[in-house]
């Protein structure tokens, strides 16, 4: 990962350490601020904040702590926001099952990952049992 100084990151790039439920509120807030810069509509901002909330909660719930990395991205003329949720927790044993929706190992609604996938445009999970989980999602501004 490239090291980025604070000043450079101000506008395009925010890292939020996730280890308590107040961090979850901060991450949501940071994502909303950043996405606003990319010109997302208020409705899209809410989707983005909701996705961040679900991913950050999974970090706390399953891995105790981790990080949310928010980044403005560009693809040709398209602008978007990328959210990377990374932890070094237990990992997901069966990713297909975890994405199916309605499946939960914790008594949750199990809507989180399936819902986030639905809300966002790109969705990718990398997870190794015992090593951790990294969920990368992107929402493009249409």
């Amino acid at each position: 990962m490239t090291k980025i100084t604070d000043r450079e990151t101000r506008q395009h790039n925010i890292r939020v350490r996730i280890e308590s439920d107040t961090d979850l509120v901060s991450a949501r807030h940071a994502g909303r601020m950043l996405a606003e810069q990319a010109g997302f509509t208020s409705s899209e901002l809410t989707l983005i904040a909701t996705a961040i909330s679900e991913l950050a909660r999974n970090i706390i719930e399953y891995a105790n702590f981790g990080e949310i990395h928010l980044e403005l991205v560009q693809n040709g003329s398209a602008r978007g926001i990328r959210i990377v949720a990374r932890d070094a927790g237990p990992g997901i044993g069966n990713i297909e099952q975890a994405l199916r929706g309605g499946f939960s190992t914790s008594g949750g609604l199990g809507l989180g990952l399936a819902g986030v996938r639905h809300i966002m445009d790109n969705f990718d999970v990398e997870s190794n049992v015992g090593a951790g989980t990294c969920v990368t999602v992107t929402k493009w501004k249409l």
């Binding site: 439920d21 409705s43 809410t46 989180g112």
Partner: protein
């Protein structure tokens, strides 16, 4: 961030004023379930107008709150879910299907009066 709970005749009105943590939601649930007993309230309104995200945890806690209060003999109505929030909830797969909802506080009060919670 404690949520103020107002007692108005037979009703309790909880007005959420800013983003809540998960723990805040759980505390709100427990406080309302407790107060329904202490004040012998017949109806509960949770006003979420100020809330900009109702994710799966918040929604589940609101649903549990409504169920628990029902088991204690009172009605709950969630009011003030904003259009953007409603959109995100539905996209996420959350419908709060068996929880009563109303547009705003006024409609919520009317709903409680209607279901006969006022007497």
């Amino acid at each position: 961030m404690a949520v103020p709970i107002l007692k108005q005749s037979n009703y309790l009105i909880a007005t959420i004023q800013s983003a809540l943590t998960d723990q805040d939601f759980v505390q709100l649930r427990d406080a309302l379930v407790d107060k329904v007993g202490r004040f012998r309230s017949r109806g509960v309104i949770v006003d979420v107008t100020a809330i900009d995200v109702l994710d799966s945890f918040a929604s589940r806690t609101l649903r549990d709150l409504a169920y628990m209060i029902r088991l204690r003999g009172a009605h709950t109505v969630i009011v003030g879910i904003q259009p953007d929030v409603a959109f995100a909830m539905v996209q996420l797969g959350i419908t709060l299907a068996d929880v009563s909802t109303a547009l705003d506080l006024e409609e919520g009060l009317a709903f409680l009066d209607d279901v006969g919670a006022e007497t």
